[in-house]
Point group: C2
Chain length 314, copies 2
């Protein structure tokens, strides 16, 4: 079972497990989720879809209770405005996790993959940041909800015998993105190809992971997981800054001479972490590494987004 299946990571994971011949039940709360699901997933023989919110719906509970593996990806994706409506991350980022855990506990499901975030590290002082880094003082309500979820999953793992991977991915990019910096830049440049508004000073530097690789890394770790909860950075070894991403997106769209309008300041928004560099060693030791660098991942995502037919909202 996959929650948040209509999102970028959800689609890649659904595709990966369907290609392996697994049955996949996808759950997504977005009103347009069924329409947004790509046909190769939506029409797959072993795929079924429930348009429900894990906080309010009921049918997904049965699927969760009997699932060999639950991948919980559903969350609030509007990170930038979360301080205006703190209830969003509380409900969609944390209480949704609690709801999924309770449904699993009520049934026989004991294997969980959770999409956490490098936002749990807050503003680290150690680069690249390993999974053992502390203190964990998140700057955003998004990061707080992710760390709170990790904490709850860890206790469920110990108390109820769960096997859980807590994934802390780099920024995930890809042609099927629904938000994020690469998606935002492509959309903005399609509206106005002469200028591009960049949040912050453009020097925020972060690692980027292609969605297809993200799904592969998650599946790899989950196959090898043993009882208990364990955190995994999912990341290339490098990072690139926002101006470089703007350059790559402009090139993918065939644009030249675009004027960058920097809003200024170290952070793109309140709770933004200006420097992220994650240590990929733990998962590398288990045998998996991202093949694309951050630059290659962004380049590929920008190309995919540039080639995609602009959707109605773009």
């Amino acid at each position: 079972m996959i929650t948040g299946v209509a999102g970028l990571i959800g689609r890649s994971l659904a595709r990966l497990y369907l290609e392996r011949g697994e049955r996949v039940t996808g759950v997504d709360a977005a009103a347009d989720a069924a329409r947004r699901l790509p046909p190769d997933i939506a029409r797959a023989a072993h795929f079924s879809f429930l348009n429900e919110d894990v906080l309010t719906g009921g049918r997904w509970r049965e699927a969760a209770a009997g699932a060999d593996l639950v991948l919980h990806l559903a969350a609030n994706s509007d990170i930038q405005r979360s301080f205006e409506a703190p209830d969003l991350d509380l409900r969609q980022g944390f209480l949704s996790t609690q709801s999924v855990l309770e449904a699993m506990r009520a049934g026989r499901a004991r294997r969980l993959g959770f999409a956490s975030s490098s936002a749990v590290y807050g503003e680290p002082t150690l680069f690249p940041t390993p999974e053992e880094y502390g203190p964990l003082l998140p700057l955003s309500l998004y990061g707080a909800a992710k760390l709170a979820s990790e904490a709850l999953i860890s206790a469920y793992a110990h108390g109820y015998g769960f096997t859980a991977c807590l994934f802390r991915p780099a920024n995930v990019v890809g042609g099927e993105a629904t938000h994020g910096v690469v998606f935002d830049f492509v959309r903005a440049l399609r509206r106005d190809p002469r200028r591009l508004r960049i949040l912050g000073d453009g020097r925020q530097s972060k690692p980027y992971l292609h969605a297809s690789e993200c799904a592969q890394g998650m599946a790899w770790a989950l196959e090898r997981a043993t009882e208990g909860a364990r955190a995994f950075n999912l990341t290339p070894a490098d990072a690139i800054d926002v101006r470089r991403i703007a350059d790559l997106v402009c090139r993918a769209l065939g644009l030249e001479g675009v004027e960058y309008e920097l809003t200024g300041g170290e952070r793109g928004w309140p709770g933004d972490v200006p420097r992220v560099l994650l240590d990929p060693t733990r998962l590398a030791r288990a045998g998996w590494s991202a093949r694309l660098t951050s630059l290659q991942a962004v380049e590929r995502a920008a190309r995919e987004l540039a080639e995609a037919r602009p959707s109605a909202s773009a």
Copy 2:
């Protein structure tokens, strides 16, 4: 304002701030909280009491909104049975914190002291454990709720300009305890002075802090806190094991030849952490250290409990 004011730490903090001439509003959800409050606090001129739950009540919000300092101590204290009713820690340990933070945000209150726990460390591999220790994988729902609360407080600190101390105290003991190993042993030995049931193998080793010192340490850190969230171990430098505590309690009660019945196993209960030793360096550098060792703190608490008139429930 102090939530959980009828508890052991709550009373010590109320006393400390009342003695300094501060106005204190105490909040406690327990039905018998008003009766349980010691007269020196209950009758103090600058003390007012609200018998409310911060999840359901409304009057405390006004006090929180205008408070110079909020001390949030209210939580589920029945740690041993929390896996039987996971809702308890979720509500009383985490959602109560969220409720307090929202009440503060709605008003002008921006200074918070939070009673977290060494349970956030899970089962650490580094002793003594410093505040920077990671990964944070709590074993109990109690610990999970504390870490989840820390995460949320950290994001509020960044997003809304809070100044917050996240206190991770040793096991707090004292003559006014309402639960905990020293309290439980005194009560059990008053019922049957010939034998004592000890959970686990009796070798679980933890640090113990007297409530009066706990309150002093908290006040010390809060006076010196600057904007943002910071974690502080509150602990003596040493630890003692459960058998030794049993010996000290027997001696305080004047008992000899008590037969110890060990229930066996490394943990006292599911989620119990068999070895805890916390690094007191951070707060020591700020100028505060516990004067009593763990042994002295337990000795004093056992004496105080032995001298106290047994309450109706004992």
